[in-house]
C-alpha cells in the first residue's frame, strides 16, 4: 500500500537506567533464595525435590512455550510478531541456564521418580517397562531434551543477531529451515519430556494425550510471558513503533484460542479417563478430586478456563495493554497452579499441604532467570532491526 511508512524505525537498545538498583536487588533476591533453598534441601530433601521440580517444570514450560512462538513465527513466515520476536528469543535462550539450575534434581532424583529406587527384579510392572524406564536411558533422554531445545533456541537467536549486522535474507531462510526441523522433532521431544518428567512421578499411570496437554499449557505460559514483557518494555518507553494495540489485540486473540485449546485437551483427558474407569488410569484423578485437592482442581477449571474465556471474548479490551497484562498475569498464576496440581499431590496424597519451599523454589529459579535475562537484554537491539518483514510488522493492522 502506498500509505505504508517506508522508513524503518531506528533500532533501540535497552538502557539500564530503567532498572538501576533494582537489578542489584534482583541479584540479591536470587542469591539469598538459592542459599535458603540449599539449606532447606539438606533439612527436608523430599519437600525440596518436589518443590524444585515444580518450579523447574513451570519455568521449563514457559521457556519452551516461548521457543514455540519463535519457531512458529519462522515456520509460517509471519509478519506481525517481528517486533516481539527478539524478546521471545532472549527468553528461550535461558534454557541452558535453567538446565544448570535444575542440576540439584540429579541428587534427589530417586525421591522424586520413585521408580528409580524400585528394582525391576522385584517389581513386575517395572520389569515390563524396564527397556524404556531405566536410569541410564532416562538421563540420556533428559540431556537430549535440554540439548535439543537449547540448541534450537541458540541457533534461532544466533541467526537473528547475525541478520542485525548484515541484513541478509539468508538468515531468515536458515531460521525457517531450523523451524521446519523443530516442529516435528520438538513436538516429540516435548511429549517425551512430559512422559519422563511430570508423568514419571507415578510410573503406573499413563495418558496418551499428556504431551499435548503439557504443550497447551506451555504455549499459554509463553504467550502470557511475552504479553507481560512486551507491555512492560512499552511502558518503559520502548517498542513504541513496533508494538501497538494492534499487536496486543493479536496476542489477545491467540490467548483466547489457546485457552480454549488447553481447556478442550484437559477436558478430553479427564473425560476419557473418567469414562473408561480403569483403576490404573483413574488413580491420577481419584487423588486429585478428593479432599482439598478437589478445591484446587475446581479453582483450576474456573480460573484457567471460565474466567479468561469469558473475559477474552470481549472485543475491545483485548487491545488494551492494562487488561491484557492483567489476564496474562492471571494465566501465569493459573499455569503455575496447573503444574502444582500435577506435581505436589504425588508427595502429599492426603491433601493440599502448602510449603515455604514451593514459594522459595519459584522465587529462586525465577529471580535467577530474570536477572540473567536483564543482564543480557542490553546486548542486542530490542527487535530484529533488519528483518525483511519489519516494515509489515510496523504497519500491521489486525
Amino acid at each position: 500500500m502506498s500509505a505504508e511508512k517506508t522508513s524503518l524505525p531506528a533500532p533501540e537498545t535497552f538502557d539500564y537506567k530503567h532498572v538501576g538498583g533494582r537489578f542489584m536487588g534482583l541479584c540479591v533476591v536470587a542469591v539469598v533464595s538459592l542459599v535458603i533453598s540449599l539449606l532447606l534441601a539438606f533439612h527436608e530433601p523430599k519437600q525440596f525435590a518436589y518443590s524444585w521440580f515444580f518450579a523447574g517444570c513451570f519455568f521449563f514450560t514457559l521457556l519452551v512455550g516461548s521457543l514455540f512462538w519463535v519457531v512458529i513465527h519462522h515456520a509460517v513466515d509471519s509478519c506481525w510478531s517481528v517486533g516481539i520476536r527478539r524478546q521471545l528469543e532472549n527468553v528461550s535462550c535461558l534454557l541452558p541456564l535453567l538446565a544448570v539450575l535444575l542440576l540439584p534434581l540429579c541428587f534427589v532424583a530417586p525421591l522424586l521418580w520413585t521408580w528409580m529406587a524400585d528394582s525391576a527384579a522385584t517389581n513386575k510392572e517395572l520389569a515390563e517397562k524396564a527397556a524404556y524406564l531405566n536410569i541410564n536411558f532416562f538421563w540420556v533422554r533428559t540431556v537430549f531434551y535440554f540439548a535439543l531445545f537449547g540448541t534450537v533456541a541458540w541457533l534461532l537467536r544466533h541467526n537473528s543477531l547475525a541478520q542485525d549486522v548484515d541484513g541478509a535474507a539468508i538468515h531468515t531462510i536458515r531460521n525457517r529451515r531450523v523451524a521446519f526441523f523443530t516442529i516435528p522433532v520438538g513436538a516429540l521431544t516435548l511429549t517425551f519430556w512430559a512422559f519422563d518428567w511430570p508423568m514419571g512421578l507415578n510410573f503406573h499411570w499413563n495418558s496418551t494425550i499428556w504431551g499435548i496437554y503439557i504443550f497447551a499449557g506451555s504455549v499459554i505460559g509463553g504467550l502470557s510471558l511475552i504479553i507481560l514483557l512486551a507491555n512492560a518494555l512499552r511502558s518503559a518507553g520502548y517498542l513504541k513503533q513496533v508494538f501497538t494495540s494492534e499487536h496486543n489485540y493479536a496476542l489477545g486473540k491467540f490467548l483466547l484460542a489457546f485457552t480454549l485449546f488447553w481447556s478442550w485437551i484437559a477436558f478430553v483427558q479427564y473425560l476419557l479417563i473418567w469414562y473408561a474407569n480403569i483403576p490404573e488410569e483413574a488413580a491420577y484423578y481419584t487423588l486429585r478430586t478428593q479432599g482439598s485437592w478437589k478445591i484446587l482442581g475446581i479453582i483450576l477449571v474456573v480460573g484457567h478456563f471460565l474466567v479468561p474465556f469469558s473475559l477474552l471474548l470481549l472485543r475491545a479490551p483485548k487491545a488494551s495493554a492494562g487488561f491484557l497484562g492483567l489476564i496474562a498475569g492471571w494465566m501465569l498464576a493459573m499455569h503455575a497452579l496447573d503444574i502444582y496440581i500435577m506435581v505436589l499431590p504425588a508427595m502429599h496424597p492426603e491433601g493440599f499441604h502448602p510449603a515455604v519451599m514451593d514459594v522459595i523454589a519459584i522465587i529462586a529459579i525465577g529471580a535467577t532467570l530474570a536477572a540473567v535475562f536483564l543482564k543480557r537484554l542490553g546486548d542486542s537491539p530490542l527487535w530484529p532491526a533488519r528483518d525483511p518483514r519489519l516494515a509489515e510488522a510496523v504497519n500491521y493492522i489486525d
Partner: protein
C-alpha cells in the same frame, strides 16, 4: 482538473439504466483500496450518510472511516450458543436423568455425571453458533437480494471483482447531481456515472 471542467462534465454525465426511471445514485470507480478509503473518509467528513462502498475484498480501515456501527452479529451468535447449551443439556438430561435413566457401568445418570454430557453440548454449541454466524451474516448483509440497482451500471457489473466503487444514493439529504458529481471527480473517482433504475420488464 479545473473547477470549471468538472461542472461542465456534470452536465454531460454518462447515464446507466433507463433515463425515464428515477435516479438511484451517482457512482464512481476507484483504482485502489487506499483511494476508496480516502474517498470514503472525505464523504463522511462532508456529512453524507447514504452512500455505499463496493470492494472486491474486505478493505482494512474502510468500516472505520465510514463509521459503520458495530454489527449485532456477535450478540446473535452468543444467544445462539447459550440456547444451544440449554437445548443440548435438556435433550440429554431429561431423557437419561428423568424419563428413562440409562445405567451404564454404574455411572450416575443425573447432573453429577456432567462430563459425559459435555461433548454433545460442545458440538451442538459449535454447530448452532456457526449456523447463526453464517445465516446472520447473510441476512444482516441484506441477502438474499434478487437485484441491486447498481447492476444497471454495466461497468460495475463487469468490474465488481477487481475495482472499487462508491455510489452516493439519491435519497441522501445532501444530494444534488451537480455537487455530488463534482465531489466524486475531486476525490479522484473515475467513470463517474448517474445510475438510474432499470425499466421494469413489460412482457
Amino acid at each position: 482538473m479545473s473547477h470549471h471542467l468538472s461542472i461542465s462534465e456534470g452536465h454531460h454525465l454518462p447515464v446507466a439504466g433507463s433515463k425515464e426511471e428515477a435516479l438511484y445514485a451517482i457512482g464512481a470507480r476507484f483504482e485502489s483500496s487506499d483511494d476508496i478509503v480516502k474517498a470514503a473518509a472525505k464523504l463522511q467528513k462532508e456529512g453524507f450518510s447514504c452512500y455505499e462502498s463496493y470492494t472486491p475484498y474486505p478493505v482494512h480501515g474502510l468500516a472505520q472511516v465510514m463509521r459503520l456501527p458495530k454489527s449485532i452479529l456477535s450478540f446473535l451468535v452468543l444467544g445462539g450458543g447459550i440456547s444451544a447449551i440449554l437445548i443440548a443439556l435438556s435433550m440429554e438430561l431429561i431423557p437419561t436423568g428423568l424419563i428413562y435413566p440409562l445405567m451404564v457401568d454404574g455411572k450416575p445418570t443425573n447432573f453429577s455425571a456432567l462430563p459425559q454430557f459435555i461433548p454433545i453440548v460442545v458440538a451442538l454449541t459449535l454447530m448452532i453458533s456457526a449456523v447463526t454466524a453464517v445465516a446472520g451474516m447473510i441476512l444482516l448483509g441484506g441477502m438474499p437480494l434478487f437485484n441491486n440497482p447498481m447492476f444497471a451500471w454495466d461497468l460495475f457489473e463487469r468490474g465488481a471483482s477487481r475495482s472499487f466503487f462508491i455510489a452516493i444514493e439519491a435519497h441522501d439529504p445532501k444530494f444534488t447531481t451537480a455537487s455530488v458529481t463534482e465531489l466524486l471527480h475531486d476525490l479522484g473517482g473515475l467513470d463517474v456515472t448517474a445510475i438510474h433504475l432499470e425499466a421494469s420488464d413489460k412482457e
